[in-house]
């Protein structure tokens, strides 16, 4: 047999054993309570589907075609009443503190009925991730506290996240590219804050959110070194909404144009800046900015995978129902072998997609954004302590500078680059896999259903329209493939260069 040194040596070759399977080492470390919690989350999602999503999805889609100005305020109020906007906010910030991976299962469930409605719920957590990953605990406590109060008072408080600009989509997702991109959202340092000018586009739920996490640049020629994260409240002078986009699908969830004209943001709403980062790390600001982006998209892209798996499942379930009730040449479709084979293929796609987001979530749970929350003692501590303890004891601590410094050290200074690559790479891998499989299943379902599949009232054509967006947002699948290469393959190949192709 091999000595332990030989085993280590063998396992460090490409692919490194620790990158091959994340569930193998990490599943046993998972707190058991997470399973119970996830079961509950899935049951809640199924109840919501039966009571809200399923009866409304097609009617709302039709409504958005009749009235392109439709805003989902009624849905937002409902989701707020159901507690969905605080469900995955950690209890230290006053939220319900359900474990983060359980959100993927929730997204699959609700996404299987309507991706638009799921986005009305889910995109808020892109904003939450933008706030939490900044390490700015003081501002996180304030903003997330407002979300919690919004739930209690029945006035929903949602967070949007604004990155994409009219001239720059892919470029703003990668520090390597942003300096070559055509970014134009400028943040000028002034006494007591920043003045912002610029436009952001395709901002999901912008119109109906209370807060927007806005990324702007102090120097448009060196954006990678001058990224600023700002919290902007809807209604602030100089911040207005343009039209919202006329999309092919997910129409119930608006994609907004945000316009900033000499918009002043005070210092106490600065989430992330060079000055703040310098308080906890000496690492190059570019590196920190990339890490920040990776934390956010590393946590949210597995969620997009789950959205895709949801659509894949919705398409499968719709096709299954059709095949079980429709005949061809006098025989139920379901009893034709080609139909059984197609349905099995679709079921397989759902299962593979689910494995992909599960693996990516293991990466985040043990090597990424919320790894502290998943440590067994921390997990049970957060679950079992009374809320008053967090409000009265932990809450005031979060407002202190040392708290932000500690979070900054943990998240940025002491974090290992290989963990960053693992989380970011797996997140991209899952995102590409889940969304491509989702598109594939919707296409297969439409083919299987023939002319019925073309009808909006049959459901599956809407799923195809809805899912196409998933191959584009949170980084196009093209960018995400390159990120898989950059994070999981290129580190093994010294001569590999990414985003630097010769013309």
């Amino acid at each position: 047999m091999l000595s332990s040194a030989e085993v280590s040596n063998r396992l460090s070759g490409f692919p490194r054993f620790e990158d091959m399977s994340l569930s193998l080492p990490y599943a046993p470390r998972m707190p058991k309570g997470m399973v119970r919690e996830t079961r509950e989350v899935v049951a809640i999602a199924r109840t919501f589907n039966d009571e809200v999503a399923r009866p409304r999805a097609l009617e709302l889609d039709r409504k958005t075609h009749e009235d392109p100005g439709y805003m989902p305020r009624d849905l937002v109020e409902l989701a707020n009443r159901w507690g969905f906007y605080t469900m995955w906010i950690p209890r230290i910030f006053g939220g319900r503190g359900y474990n983060m991976p359980s959100m993927s299962y929730f997204a699959e469930e609700v996404g299987s009925v309507c991706l638009g409605i799921m986005n009305v719920i889910g995109v808020h957590y892109l904003g939450v991730a933008g706030v939490v990953a900044s390490a700015n605990t003081r501002l996180a406590k304030r903003i997330l506290g407002e979300v919690v109060r919004g739930e209690k008072t029945g006035n929903p408080c949602l967070i949007a996240l604004a990155t994409t600009e009219p001239g720059a989509g892919t470029d703003v997702e990668e520090v390597e590219l942003v300096d070559k991109g055509r970014v134009a959202c400028h943040a000028r340092r002034v006494r007591g804050g920043y003045v912002v000018n610029g436009t952001k586009v395709f901002i999901s739920m912008g119109h109906v959110s209370t807060w927007t996490v806005l990324y702007a640049y102090e120097d448009l020629k060196r954006p990678s070194e001058t990224t600023v994260g700002l919290m902007v409240k809807t209604g602030t002078q100089g911040f207005s909404f343009g039209s919202h986009e006329n999309k092919m699908g997910q129409r119930v969830c608006p994609a907004s144009v945000l316009v900033f004209e000499d918009c002043f943001i005070p210092d106490d709403q600065v989430l992330f800046s060079t000055d703040m980062v310098r308080k906890f790390t000496k690492k190059p600001i570019r590196e920190v900015a990339q890490r920040y982006i990776d934390y956010v998209v590393g946590a949210t892209r597995p969620g997009v995978c789950a959205f895709g798996v949801g659509a894949a499942r919705g398409a499968f379930e719709t096709a299954l129902k059709h095949a079980s009730t429709t005949t061809m040449n006098g025989t139920l479709l379901i009893n034709h072998e080609w139909v059984q084979s197609m349905l099995a293929e679709m079921y397989k796609n759902v299962a593979l997609g689910r494995l992909a987001y599960t693996e990516a979530n293991y990466a985040n749970s043990h090597r990424g954004l919320y790894k502290i929350l998943q440590l067994k003692p921390v997990y049970y501590y957060l679950r079992l302590m009374p809320q008053a303890y967090f409000d009265k004891v932990i809450g005031p601590m979060l407002e202190k500078d040392y708290s932000t410094r500690l979070m900054g050290k943990l998240s940025y200074d002491w974090a290992r680059p290989e963990d960053q690559r693992c989380c970011s790479g797996w997140a991209s891998l899952a995102k590409v896999a889940g969304t491509d499989l989702g598109v594939r299943n919707c296409q297969m379902a439409i083919e299987l259903m023939g002319q019925t599949g073309l009808r909006q009232d049959a459901g599956v054509e809407k799923m195809l329209r809805d899912i196409k967006l998933l191959q584009i947002y949170e980084g196009t699948n093209q960018l995400n493939r390159l990120n898989v290469f950059k994070c999981l393959i290129a580190p093994e190949i010294p001569q590999a260069r990414v985003f630097e192709e010769d013309r």
């Binding site: 991109g181 092919m248 439409i446």
Partner: protein, 374 residues
Amino acid sequence: MLSSFKSEWKPFEDLARSFAAKELAGKTEEHDRYPFGEFFHDVLDKAYEVGFLGIMLPGELGGAGGGIGTLCTVLAALCRADSSPGGIVFTNALVQKILLAADARDIAGEIFGRASSAGGFLAAFPSYTHPAHQDNLPEYKRSGRGYSLTGPVDLLVLGGLARRAIIPARAGSGRQGSFFLIDLDHKGVSKSEPVFTLGMHACPAVDVRLDRVRARLIGEEGKGEEYFDRVLPAMHVAAAAMNAGIMRGALDEALAYARERFQGGREIIRWSEVSMLLAGMAVKADAADMCVTLACQALEQGEAGWSSRCAAAALHVHEIACEAVTDGVQVLGGNGYMKDYGQEKRFRDARQVQALLGSVPARKLDLIRKVSGV
């Protein structure tokens, strides 16, 4: 682009392209809002005036007397801009071909020969089905000297616009079908609102319920499938021409965008990952044109053995079209998903066109049955 293979088709391509430039360009999104916006009656009237609604119908019956090559050239050029008028032209051509296959020239003359407007020249048909594959066709019964039809017809294309429709029906539980002409104004016809579908919104369909509707038999009783099989090769190629046009439009827009849009400090066409997407689309668009052209030439020359090849060519063209339009959206990123650009419509329309003449799996099974004789 089909005219680059055969110069005789050039005048028709030029005509269709100039029609598209004048009547469709810049208005496709507005036209596509139907049934939530206005229907483009003006475009339909002009399509009638230039003869697009009867391209393959003989001159003496009020048509333009063209061949399948002419029809495909016009369809491809129209669909390059907007596939909805293509769907209308296709459905009318399908009806006319069925009437001719059944040697029902008298009925064709009555409908098309006497028409004096686009509305009068249209005839509806459930174009997304192959009647032989449908288990739930309306039932026909003899009624006096004629027939009466009872039962549902889903997605009757142009049913909300045309005065007449050709309906496939069966007698009782028998499998043999026949085609009938019905008047859509008959009191036994109840029509739904326009059905909201994935694509081709301006080529609308309605669900129809027939209750003892007076009907005229087309050709002979029980020969519906035979007539339909006779028109299928040409109509499969016509549907393929539509998707070849859609692909060409998708490639035009993707190339134009990729030359203009900057990312990472250069036009996106200069990144090889995007170039590969574009190359894939270009390969597919050319392959589709070649499939359609070769099939048209073989059909026009009456070459034997092309029946299943046409079905195969169409299946292939539709499949690659659905891939190409997906990449067409992708090249434009977020913009590709928005109605300000044409790609999202092509993404929807290509799937809709693929479903013409019956479901894809049923057509594949049919193909192999015919090729193998098993």
